[in-house]
Symmetry: C2
Subunit: 436 residues, 2 copies
Amino acid sequence: MERVLSRDVAAQSGKEVLIQGWLHKKRLLGGLNFILVRDRAGVTQVVVEDAAEVEKLRGLQIGTVVTIEGQVHEEPRAPGGAELRQPKITVDVPVTDESPIEIDKPLSHKPENLDTLFDFRHIGLRSLQEQKVFRIRAGLLRYIRSFLTDHEFVEIQTPKLLAGATEGGAEVFKVDYFEKEAVLAQSPQLYKQMMVGAFERVFEIAPAYRAEPSATTRHVSEVTMLDIEMGFIKDHEEVLDMVQDITYYAVTNAYKDFADDLKSLQAPELILKDKFPRYTVAEVHELYTKATGTDTTKEKDLIPDEEKWICEHAKKEQGCEAVFVTHFPKEAMKFYHKLADDGQTVLWADLLFRGLELATCPMRENNYQKMIEQMKAAGLDPEHPGYKYYLEAFKYGLPAHGGCGYGIDRLVEKTIGLANIKEAILFPRDINRLTP
Amino acid sequence: MERVLSRDVAAQSGKEVLIQGWLHKKRLLGGLNFILVRDRAGVTQVVVEDAAEVEKLRGLQIGTVVTIEGQVHEEPRAPGGAELRQPKITVDVPVTDESPIEIDKPLSHKPENLDTLFDFRHIGLRSLQEQKVFRIRAGLLRYIRSFLTDHEFVEIQTPKLLAGATEGGAEVFKVDYFEKEAVLAQSPQLYKQMMVGAFERVFEIAPAYRAEPSATTRHVSEVTMLDIEMGFIKDHEEVLDMVQDITYYAVTNAYKDFADDLKSLQAPELILKDKFPRYTVAEVHELYTKATGTDTTKEKDLIPDEEKWICEHAKKEQGCEAVFVTHFPKEAMKFYHKLADDGQTVLWADLLFRGLELATCPMRENNYQKMIEQMKAAGLDPEHPGYKYYLEAFKYGLPAHGGCGYGIDRLVEKTIGLANIKEAILFPRDINRLTP
């Protein structure tokens, strides 16, 4: 008999079916025993009355793998509205040890329980509730790829093993590479810009590495980044439009396709418009100072509370909890950014969603000579072999371009309303965690 | 005026259009000058007669970024069947240095020219011919993801930074991880098996690292792997069926959607059936020995020439150049493989395509006690902390499962008929190459 998945059991009412899955819950009520059997589509309730069948389950724990044939009966109180009766049970893989964590109810995501959550992630994900996070994550990635492909972005894979740190500043991991030293890529920044010269529009979804020495809710050493880069743009706004449209497409589709899952995960109601409000850093300072009495007008960058505040503000005033903050001061610029005409601000915007920066979306300097000057101004040596290929791409012609580095883990975190980026990562890595 | 892409120029016959792109070719024939302008969709021919316009191009080299307004005229000899006349040229980014490699014709992929190819990859990909390889690669990935999603596989991202080498044997790269030692993942093997316990069916497409000390056409230190794993399988055949169906779907779609590109890349004609022939290792030895006179019947594994020969054989005899070779001898087994009932062979098959192994497709041992025994037999210590989580997944119930590690770079190489795996990788890494 062919296996029937839990979601299809109810449609077989009155018939004999075969299910396979994990013993997910046992309720022994004297003569009447209920078990729940989990498979990839959910759970099926099975009523076990026959003494010999009950005996087969004696001493067996959650996780036991079973094959069960039984008759489908409508039962409004059972998951999916049906249950199996008169089952014939085969134990395929007996489990005799009690599960180290309870998986038939939502796991605790309280800060003090997160270490337990991650230590038992490999078992905890057997909870149907926990799985939802990662099904939504996979969905978001699908929407993003589909959108980008429709907009003629070519998916690329760039190397994560580099000859040296080329972006300056941030911490890198060093790798022993055949008795030479290599570093793990912090981003595909230089590669994706070079590829604009070939494909105009490229994207990559891949791991990126930051040797973050801090142990906070925001710091992880291995993240999944979406990197996009697009050439022949008219202006910086075109980059923002693209990042806005990707985000709108991905998040609204998630809220449509995973409506029930998001509800059960207690995700906030989505307040989003297809055009995200755009504020300059100076405007945010001004609005925030006026509203809170805390004077930030002398600050160059946004302070963390402003990131939260401006999203709340835009949600209330504009009906949209995603915003762009633009025109960062040039003190914060990286060598590959492009200065605005005012000479004081950078054509660089951050996408903020529900109080968190999801993506950095700059336009790039594309003039070869200016790029060399900007490298020097940033204290970098344009003659360093690590920049040879990058600079050649400019020398042989790169059009106006821009793109973004977009944190997929952060997108998942904020789409669902998780409190910690690590909850959005299957097996998170930080300064203290290399397992499981 | 809105930009028109090269592919859409011919449809605007008689109208004034604006194109943007790179100067791709200059043909100066005295009074009459042709230029080709490249964009992401191809090239547009532009006839430049006006002396002032010709003057703008003086001294400018291939790669120069231009914006051109002109009138579209039908011209059967021009790419796409139309050309621009009476152009008004704006030079957006002048290039004054001659391109280090010619990009208006196919680049040489001869073995002696490969280093040049890779040294100038960032420029060489401006050749429309070179780009095709990576557009086909992106297509193959799309087909694979689409197929797997339709078959209820959940996409996962597992960590590439591990606490220790857990698969035994092969060479690993070591990473300095906050004064501890980490290693780069050679595969997501243990993680994907653990995730069978949660999602039943998972897949990941991600980089994998092998410190291959050989400098051959087959060895690279960073590869892109498709890893799949599926639970509740009836038998090993079910894994092979899935890998076969993925491959058939991806390759036949590539040959349909990229027919012209594959032809111009001189890809071989595709000889494929939707059921791939399956031979045991012993059968291959016997057939090969009979056909060639070289006795391999005493060999345990396949010799390289047998891999080529059996694909040729199946192509001629069965009309299919993809085959599975099954029942590898237990001498070659890894600790997580499952022994066949005969006790002598392993439920492990290789997928070969056009003479090369693309994927290894074993069934896994899923019994906790047997797994521990097999680890010990392989000289591994089940008490090692690196196996703690993995073994817990078994202890708390894993169903019969199997999957594959599938080399994406190899699939691209063989689908197109390239001679070297590195040609299928954007920026290949090997013992001698960490740049560009």
